[in-house]
Symmetry: C3
Subunit: 164 residues, 3 copies
């Protein structure tokens, strides 16, 4: 390979490594925003029109649209109760797969909540994210989140780790 | 340094960064496969003949050989009970050390299990992984896993973080 | 851009990616050292004179100076009790922001502790780290850690994720 070809190949590989690291930073920004009720910036981690579909605590599921519906949820009284009690929406490092200007990730997330002198796992879920490179950096397109309850939908979400 | 030497040095450094990121993806693939009883692909995260040594829930330890014995475990009735209940074998990001075509990692893992409306830590352990670059990408050679119970073996596994 | 400029640009970008990965390794070294009472090396993850400020279990907070006061804490009877019981000081992957020879990170940490046949979250906290490149690699300058209890200080620490 001549120098031009080697430079171009390295630039492409380097960009892909940077993308994986930037997506890791993006996903790890969500928790601290949400847990401090910093609502609007949390909604803006998504592209406009993107979605967050999740299992409701009472069962069933819901899809909220970014940025306003997602940001809106972080003003709900139930969410503000979590914030006042002391909580962490913790994203475990997922498998991340970058393909050009699109990416996918599959991994777990938990919500840690204080209860007197201890903390417990109020929620545990599996997630499939699709992501897109924008002029402002990487953003979430869809976050599909299902509680860990043995449902076929939760298991199918886990199995996506094979094909991303 | 001339251009040739700078290109070669950067290619080596870039490969090492890519290796750390690929190993992170490999280790984060294990949980979603295991927790959805996707047994054979889980076993194939190891090289053939590789091993997984872990503390048994009832005490003592066991080493299973990849891929078949490891995959086989994910069909055990006890494991399928976890899957139906809702669980996550979550690998916390370890320290990863890449040396050419071999690598090591030391870090924690937990098993999160549902119990009625909550989840709890059914298991918590420390791990020492050895890994190898293969034609099919990075694979696990040995995963040595010990429950966090104060045993000398668990503490010695943690201390490996100093020398990898 | 000519070849010299492209090489220089790539070298700078590559170093930044390597820095993020090295910081991830540094932060993930702390837990296994601390949980095996490997005290002095734990204190030396900081620059000399660096600090670790944390919420005390009984309330209030304390700042210990590196390396000796931090290392000293890991010889306290209360800490050795955790080690003998079986524990993990687990650092969740934070958002990491590298700016030249300085860096910052914001993210969660938990202490997992054994209790008979299970493990529970003895502690959960948010952290803001400042870090510095030294001749010996990246080191922690300050770790500011506050328990997740809804306090204004804990929420302000989370919000730093927006500006790093």
């Amino acid at each position: 390979m001549d120098i031009e070809a080697r430079l171009a190949a390295m630039e492409a590989r380097l960009r892909k490594a940077e993308d994986q690291l930037e997506i890791l930073n993006l996903l790890n920004t969500n928790g601290p925003l949400v847990d401090s009720a910093t609502a609007q910036p949390a909604g803006e981690l998504w592209v406009e029109g993107g979605g967050y579909s999740f299992t409701l605590p009472e069962g069933g599921d819901k899809r909220l649209v970014a940025p306003d519906e997602i940001a809106g949820m972080y003003g709900w009284p139930g969410h503000l109760d979590l914030v006042k009690t002391g909580c962490a929406h913790l994203t475990a490092t997922p498998k991340i797969s970058v393909k050009g200007d699109e990416a996918e990730a599959v991994g777990y997330s938990v919500v840690i909540l204080r209860e007197e002198e201890r903390w417990f796992l109020w929620r545990a879920a599996v997630n499939h994210w699709t992501l897109r490179r924008t002029d402002a950096g990487w953003r979430i397109v869809e976050r599909f989140n299902r509680a860990l309850n043995g449902s076929e939908e939760s298991l199918a979400t886990m199995r996506k780790v094979q094909t991303i």
